[in-house]
């Protein structure tokens, strides 16, 4: 059981690198969808069976695996763009940074004072690494859709951390977090549409023209 959960977490980390290394939007969206599905399965791996757990799993898989990718896919199609053309930071440097941050995450979590039953898992380092990947995507990519993807990865990182507490977490908090994410994506979808209509481009760096002088 433990090894399977850890293997899935390794997969999550690999997907992080896919998101960092690709410029194709549809590919990145699908990668994040797969990451969401894996995260949906994970709670079942580490906690004993309960209907509460089944509920979480099903809802997460539906929202992260299908609803959000669908919304994003539609935004990509309506904006008619396929690739991130010129990111602030190239793909290779981003990948290198991602590797450095992942290493840092492992080093950092090794020194955290944790409860004994959590010490053998990879949850904490994977969570921090994913969080930082999300930040990297947010800061280095220009297109608004990549911003949403970065945001999703960031959220996934936070979610992995929350997995440790899934048993203790009330349904309301989970429902709230999921709803937050869904609404966030929804709003970003609208914003993306507005940006592409206003600036006829999805380049968020053009938003500087809104700044006051």
């Amino acid at each position: 059981m433990i090894t399977l959960a850890d293997q899935l977490l390794v997969l999550v980390l690999l997907i992080n690198f896919i998101a960092l290394g690709t410029g194709r939007l549809i590919f990145a969206i699908r990668a994040v969808a797969v990451q969401g599905v894996i995260l949906g399965i994970l709670p079942g791996m580490i906690h004993s069976f309960s209907w509460h757990l089944v509920g979480i799993t099903v809802v997460i898989i539906i929202v992260k695996g299908f609803v959000i990718p669908h919304l994003l896919g539609r935004a990509v199609r309506s904006a008619e763009i396929k690739r991130e053309v010129e990111p602030f930071l190239g793909y290779v440097p981003t990948l290198l940074l991602g590797a450095i941050f992942t290493a840092f995450a492992f080093g950092f979590s090794g020194s955290l004072p944790m409860v004994p039953e959590h010490q053998n898992y990879m949850f904490v380092p994977a969570s921090i690494a994913t969080l930082m990947t999300g930040f990297l995507v947010l800061t280095t990519r220009r297109k608004a859709i990549f911003q949403v993807i970065g945001y999703l990865i960031l959220e996934n990182g936070i979610f992995i951390f929350g997995l440790l507490l899934a048993g203790a977490m009330p349904v309301m908090v989970e429902a709230g977090a999921l709803l937050d994410l869904l609404v966030g994506t929804f709003v970003m979808g609208i914003v993306i549409n507005q940006i592409s209509r206003e600036f006829s481009s999805l380049d968020t760096s053009l938003l500087t023209s809104l700044k006051e002088e």
Binding site: S111, F135, L138, T208
Partner: protein, 664 residues
């Protein structure tokens, strides 16, 4: 039955409820589509809340007790204690009174039907300002104090910028924000030092700290600047004239009548923490007060804008209050009980008085501006004939503010004079006698200033065509009449007002035996009261005789004889600027009144203009250049805000990363 009911209710809770009602009074208006009912509901709620609040405060004052309660909150800064001691109760009276009167006044002055866009916000923030000031007085937890203090400061800002379409108004708002936040910064310093000293976030009890520790002077200076900026003491007064001139009149009335007093309350409250205040502090406060009073009234004299004049005169009155406070502290340092009592009672009574006659004058200025559509006194005139009742009420206010018997302004200044002269036999504090002629000079200049104001606004003939509105005079007149009546009442029965103030003085200085003095000076004021009644009777008799004579003979109106000049116009009268020109020219080095005179040549000079520009010496010559320099020096910080979303995310990322490394 009634008294049983009243006794069973905790007075602190009663005041808290009244405050809550006052604060929420403007909320219904935000959601109503039809203009009008929201404003009426707000006025009604505020009036009812004020009745409850004033009654409770008076009861607490007369009984001299302290009511307290504690709010449940989950912040890690100690318990949120609220208390009403006599000092708070005394300041609560103007808070409730002026807020209620102003909200009634607004119904006629800022009718919702004519100001559909600005009225809901104005009514809402007006209630919030009143409620936050009441909470400032109740707060005994420093953090809660700072919170409500900021709510007060910000709601006042939103009230000032009600007419934000005008550039001038926005500038006044920015200047106000600057001044108030500089003050807040120093208050934070003060309260942090206080918390470090006492080890808790509760305000220390009266007389529980020593003023002789090395950090105490730092605390005193921080408190003086922090609270003084709000009160408008002299070097920090620069926000006051533009803010008061550009706010709606009932807002100016509330700010000048009550909000400035919150600064005074802060100074008094912080002074009460210490039991051994050195002589220097009191002397410093007296000097600051004298400067404010003298320069404030001198600036007022030079104004031609009606509301700026009133605002400058607020600086003067705050100065007088500060003189009283300083004298009381000097007395406390030199063990002169008499000086303590007279100084503190004079200051507190003047707080009460100024919160009656200044709102009266500001509300009156509202009616005048409403009717004429201008604030420039050089364009007014002759209003006494078209609105005689308002003119009469305004006259009461001007007489009171000049400190002329038998009105209330005289009583508080009388107490201060008694204080100065009480040292005539002493050997240590003989120099306090020097303050008496200065205060007299202030009084004389005040008479000059308000004669200028009244004569140029109400007397003579109109100097221009006006674009004002008529109507709404009943809701505007009633609050004014209430204030005028209270001014007269305190002037005629000053001993009652003194007994109100005495319990607050006792709460400030609980260690000193002040009650025999209260009795002694109460008796003196009773004699004053007799003289006042006599004077009032004489005035009434003369007025009646005069009217009787006027009624017997036919009265004819004719233009003033113009020495045979045939083309006289109504602009050829002594205007506001010309009235005070000579007096202002004496102190023009400081006042900086810029009168632009045309050069007249030949027998038939060309058409030309004469202008009178008010200048703000401190603001224009020192503060504005200083801020410009600061702006240039910190220009690099603007690059942090570059509008790039990625960079903003990067800031968050960097913060997180640094925190992680740090915790590591």
């Amino acid at each position: 039955m009634y008294s049983v009911l009243q006794d069973s209710v905790d007075p602190a809770l009663l005041v808290l409820d009244a405050t809550l009602v006052m604060g929420c009074a403007g909320i219904p208006g935000l959601f109503l589509k039809r203009p009008g009912p929201g404003q009426a509901v707000a006025a009604l709620c505020t009036t009812l809340a004020a009745l409850v609040g004033i009654a409770t405060a008076l009861k607490l004052l007369f009984s001299g007790t302290t009511a307290s309660c504690s709010l449940a909150w989950n912040l890690p800064f100690g318990s949120c204690e609220l208390a009403i001691d006599p000092l708070s109760a005394l300041f609560l009276i103007p808070v409730f009174l002026v807020t209620a009167a102003g909200s009634l006044f607004a119904v006629g002055y800022w009718p919702a039907v004519r100001n559909r866009r600005s009225e809901p916000g104005l009514t809402f923030f007006y209630g919030i300002l009143g409620a936050s000031m009441a909470l400032v007085l109740l707060a005994r937890n420093t953090l809660f104090f700072m919170m409500v203090w900021e709510v007060m400061a910000l709601s006042a800002y939103f009230l000032i910028v009600t007419e934000h379409e005008r550039e001038e108004v926005r500038r006044a708002g920015i200047i106000y924000l600057l001044a108030t936040h500089c003050g807040t910064a120093l208050l934070l310093l003060f309260f942090s030092l206080l918390a470090a000293r006492t080890g808790s976030f509760l305000l220390p009890a009266t007389g529980s700290l020593s003023a002789l520790t090395p950090l105490a002077p730092v605390m005193a200076v921080a408190a003086l600047i922090g609270f003084g900026a709000k009160a408008g003491l002299m070097p920090l007064h620069f926000w006051l004239p533009p803010a008061h001139a550009n706010a709606p009149s009932h807002v100016s009335a509330l700010m000048s009548g009550v909000m400035l007093k919150m600064g005074i309350y802060g100074i008094l409250r912080s002074a009460s923490f210490f039991y051994d205040i050195p002589l220097l502090w009191g002397t410093l406060l007296t000097i600051v007060g004298l400067t404010s009073a003298l320069l404030g009234i001198a600036f007022a004299l030079a104004q031609r804008d009606l509301k700026r004049l009133l605002a400058c005169s607020s600086i003067e009155n705050i100065g007088i209050i500060t003189i009283g406070t300083g004298v009381a502290l000097v007395g406390a340092a030199s063990q002169s009980t008499e000086l303590v009592y007279l100084g503190a009672a004079g200051a507190l009574l003047h707080v009460l008085n100024h919160s009656l006659f200044k709102p009266l004058l500001f509300l009156g200025s509202g009616v005048i501006i409403h009717a004429t559509g201008t604030r420039d006194m050089n364009l007014m005139g002759g209003l006494g004939k078209t609105m005689p009742r308002i003119g009469g009420l305004f006259l009461v206010g001007t007489v009171a503010i000049c400190g002329i018997p038998p009105l209330n302004g005289f009583v508080s200044e009388f107490l201060l004079y008694l204080g100065f002269f009480s040292q005539i036999q002493g050997d240590k504090l003989i120099y306090l006698m020097g303050a008496a002629p200065l205060l007299a000079l202030v009084g004389g200049l005040a008479v000059l200033t308000f004669t200028k104001l009244y004569s140029s606004v109400f007397l003579g003939t109109p100097r221009s065509l006006w674009s004002g509105h008529r109507g709404g005079e009943l809701p505007m007149g009633v609050p004014m009449a209430l204030f005028a009546l209270l001014c007269l009442l305190i002037g005629v029965v000053p001993q009652t007002a003194l007994s109100l103030v005495s319990s607050a003085v006792t709460a400030l200085f609980p260690r000193l035996p002040l009650s025999p003095l209260a009795v002694e000076y109460g008796a003196i004021l009773e004699k004053l009261s007799l003289a006042g009644v006599l004077l009032l009777t004489i005035v009434l008799v003369i007025t009646l005789l005069w009217r009787w004579r006027l009624g017997r003979e036919p009265v004819t109106a004719a233009p003033t004889w113009g020495c045979g000049y045939q083309r006289g116009t109504s602009r050829m009268q002594y205007g506001a600027t010309s009235f005070s020109e000579l007096a202002v020219s004496i102190g023009n080095g400081v006042l900086g009144q810029r009168i632009g005179r045309p050069l007249l040549t030949g027998l038939f000079p060309e058409r030309s203009e004469c202008s009178d520009l008010p200048s703000e010496t401190l603001l224009d010559r020192i503060i504005a250049p200083f801020l410009q320099a600061v702006g240039i020096a910190f220009a690099f910080l603007r690059r942090l805000q570059n509008g790039l979303m990625h960079i903003y995310v990067l800031y968050i990322f960097a913060t997180l990363f640094i925190l992680m490394l740090w915790a590591h």
